[in-house]
Amino acid sequence: MALFERLKDYSEESIIFTSRAVLAFGCVLLLMLVLIGRVYYLQVVEFERYAAISEQNRVQLQPVAPRRGLIYDRNGVLLADNQPNFSVTLLKEEVDDLDATLAKLGELIELSERDIERFQERLQQRRRPFETVPLRFDLSEEEIARISLNYYRLPGVQVEADLIRHYPYGASLVHALGYVGRINVRELEQVDPTNYAATHYIGKLGIERFYEDLLHGRVGFQKVETNARGRILRVLERQDPVPGQNLQLSLDLRLQQFSESLLAGQRAAIVAIEPASGEILALVSTPGYDPNLFVTGISSRDYNALRDSIDLPLFNRALRGGYPPGSTIKPVIALAALETEAITPEKRIWDPGFYQLTQNGRRYRDWKRGGHGWVDLNRALAESCDVWFYEVGHRMGVEPMSDFLGRFGVGADTSLDLPEAITSFLPSREWKESVRQLPWYPGDSINLSIGQGFLVMTPLQLATTTAVLANRGRWVQPHLLQGLVQTPGDAPQPFPPIYQRKPKPADVVLENPDNWNHVIDGMVAVMHGERGTARRAARGAQYRIAGKSGTAQVVGIAQDAKYDAQALAERHRDHALFIAFAPVDEPRIAVAVVVENGGGGSGTAAPIAREVMDAWLTGDYHNDLQEKP
């Protein structure tokens, strides 16, 4: 037994223990020094490095999106505002399992495949680190509550409040205002990344796009203290964003909506301009569509429906629709003829109902089968006699007509702030030779003289031409912006840069200013003459109107073929056009109306123009169209 082999030596055990204990204490001291050395290294040697890391952990510089400027009409009615919208977003860096999180969210709120698809797209796009990606917008209060209750099992999921553009009048103004939508990668590359650091929306179309810089404002910043989960605990420093400028447009919402109601159910456009200033009072293209659908991203089903609709609601007819102006261009042709002295106002031309360049040549028919008989300038305009214009068009040839059309804005985009407006083109000998590689034939001049053939114009161009006629040659450039306002009701502060954007076309100066009177008198005769084509549309007017109807052929009609509007398929019917300004002596409105497949200009388009003018000049906003048979 071990116990008996050696005797316990208590004294020696104690001595051994003491020496070991002293040694152990030495080791303890040494290791304590190691710890102190380590702490010294961290807290003294590396202090600045760790202080910097700790500061970076804690403090984050966050951009703050500016509030987008509001848009008012000329009376201070709000046309585009910002509404709070709640969206559910994901912070990918904190989401453990994306699919599982989406599945869980799908149980709480309605998530369509489209939502998830769009979310995945957004996720693929380049984004700033720790930036949330929206999954669905327009959460209801109930949905917000349901998500909030489940926050604890949905790491990285947040409900975010955002200000989102809202268009209270929806489709009524979409072709005038445009809309904003979520900013995409391509647009991000074109804007100042700092200024747009917190912005999710950008003007895509129309006024919203054109005045993006004004409406957007200047980004603000805040230094925030966040905890480890990124929640903001307090704001340390803040530089407020500068909100975007509020725009006041020249549009009159009431006139706009009234004009829209006049076109109900039709593919048509109305542009009304104040001739003195060039301010656009109404800009309507029907059918329209709801811009609010586009703000947070339209679903593919909705978009396809709009894109594939036979009525082309996405198409801005007022700015981009090219229509043969037909007889509405005759006042300009008449001016050209008078100025080139191809004819005098009194000189009469015999109209047998057709016109021939040569014996047995092609017969250019008058719209009136029997002809108008002896016709002077005034009757030619009032009754829209085609043969008179064939004759003068042939006499002066293409050059003066091209020249005058160009001086009245044909083939140019003279608008100041309508980015979608097209220029179209100005038919001329050079144009045909270079574009069509064909010589200009005398027959082309004949077609041009009644606004057919190559000539196409947009409703905006027609209205502009009418305004210049109303001004007797003084040019105004059509525009929507009246100025910038702080609060609605203020006098708008002009925004000069837009006037310098384009050189103003030279005023139309006539060698013989009397010619204005001759032509305008002819246009008055259209409305108020006893044989004026649009006399029915002017019946009972409390002011004098100068107008001109136009009917543009959609399909060519064979020689001598009997024209029967009823027999033609609806979409092959003529386009109805009408231009007018009033009152004649002191014009306050110039209006152009185009109704696709509307039939005759005087029958369909002129009454619409009359309603618009009545509304604007006399305040009669009653739609009389339905009451007439």
């Binding site: 223990f17 304590m32 807290q43 480890a228």
Partner: protein, 380 residues
């Protein structure tokens, strides 16, 4: 006083001890140790208030545990050291039995089974073993004259290996390490020959490369991550990076109590438990860390003094082991949080929030006080 103690430890001394009177005598407490522990607990509560996010509930619960701890000290200080020696084998056997129970019936969290659940009671048998193992090893060793013979040493190592292996199975690396250390300290303090120690160290050093060679790739990867957590900055490294940042950014004087951004803004994980030293480093700076280390050093010095002055080997070994194990807590915890050592779940003694570790530690100090104050009654 120490002169009298020395006299009394002389074998064959016929002098009857003069019993000291007063409070310390009747309560069997050690004034120095008690004051130091109170200071440490106060400091711990002070820091815990900040580390818990200024939650008085935590502080209250911790204070209640500390109170319970002091009650345990008072209780255990009354029991004579030889009672511990007699009870050691029983405690050890019951402990091993409970550990086996944990292995088969235990409950736990995060993939580790550490708890035994009885109706109305839930406890960690490993905590009991923190004291039962060194007591058992010491009791076993003193059955024969010290230093131990080779055979005796081998049997001791087996006694130590059984509970250590069982706890590693749970797995609870931190506790296994502390228990192994407590046993090894007993063996080392018992005076085991230096050449054996060096041979053991040499063998271990030689075994490492061989072990590395036979390990599979994924195992090596795990070892590497364990040794260098910062190679995995989003996983295991996150805690260490944040704790180093907290300590480093505290500087010499700290950011001020309650004003540590790392700790108050939740960047620092486990800030009120294992990583609480980082809160001290951040908010109280190096000054705070040095105050804490000084308190620990004084406690350890006092503990070793009690061990050296004990009258027989069992008490000496047990007191020495308890004190040195206490230091292992301190060193492993601070080493871990400052990035010197791999991450092992060891709390900062008497400062980290948590009940069981406080009671176990206090129990150890109760035994130390018993050893300190029962010398007079030794009759051997």
């Amino acid at each position: 006083m120490s002169g009298r103690d020395f006299q009394r430890t002389m074998p064959g001394s016929g002098l009857h001890p003069q019993r000291p009177g007063g409070l310390w005598h009747y309560t069997h407490l050690d004034g120095w140790l008690l004051v130091l522990l109170l200071l440490l607990c106060g400091f711990g509560l002070f820091v815990l208030y900040s580390a818990s996010g200024q939650d008085l509930g935590y502080v209250q619960r911790q204070a209640v545990r500390m109170g319970a701890g002091f009650a345990v000290i008072l209780l255990l200080a009354q029991i004579q050291p030889r009672t511990y020696r007699f009870l050691a084998p029983l405690g050890y056997l019951v402990g091993v039995g409970l550990l086996l129970g944990v292995l088969f019936f235990g409950v736990g969290a995060k993939g580790a089974q550490r708890w035994l659940e009885l109706p109305g009671l839930r406890f960690q048998p490993a905590e009991v073993m923190k004291l039962a193992v060194p007591a058992m090893i010491a009791a076993w060793l003193v059955r024969q004259p010290l230093p131990p013979t080779f055979r005796h040493l081998l049997s001791t190592l087996v006694l130590l290996a059984i509970p250590t292996a069982l706890i590693m199975q749970q797995p609870d690396l931190g506790t296994a390490l502390l228990i192994a250390a407590s046993g090894v300290f007993v063996i080392l303090l018992a005076g085991v020959y230096w050449r054996w120690i060096f041979i053991a160290l040499g063998l271990a050093a030689a075994a490492l490369p061989a072990l590395w060679a036979i390990m599979k790739d994924y195992q090596r990867q795990r070892v590497l991550t364990f040794l260098d957590p910062e190679s995995d900055p989003l996983g295991a490294g996150w805690n260490i990076i944040q704790s180093k940042t907290a300590i480093g950014s505290g500087g010499l004087s700290g950011k001020g109590w309650l004003h540590g951004t790392q700790s108050q803004l939740d960047f620092l994980p486990e800030s009120h438990t294992d990583f609480i030293i980082a809160v001290i480093g951040e908010e109280l700076g190096m000054t705070g860390v040095l105050i804490l280390l000084t308190l620990y050093l004084l406690i350890i010095a006092r503990g070793l003094m009690i061990a050296v002055q004990a009258q027989e080997s069992f008490s000496r070994l047990l007191a020495g082991s308890i004190t040195l194990t206490f230091f292992v807590y301190v060193f492993v915890n601070i080493g871990m949080v400052t990035g010197l050592l791999p991450v092992v779940g060891v709390p900062l003694p008497l400062v980290s929030y948590g009940g069981t570790s406080i009671v176990t530690l206090m129990a150890g100090f109760g035994i130390l006080m018993s050893i300190k104050t029962h010398k007079q009654m030794l009759t051997r």
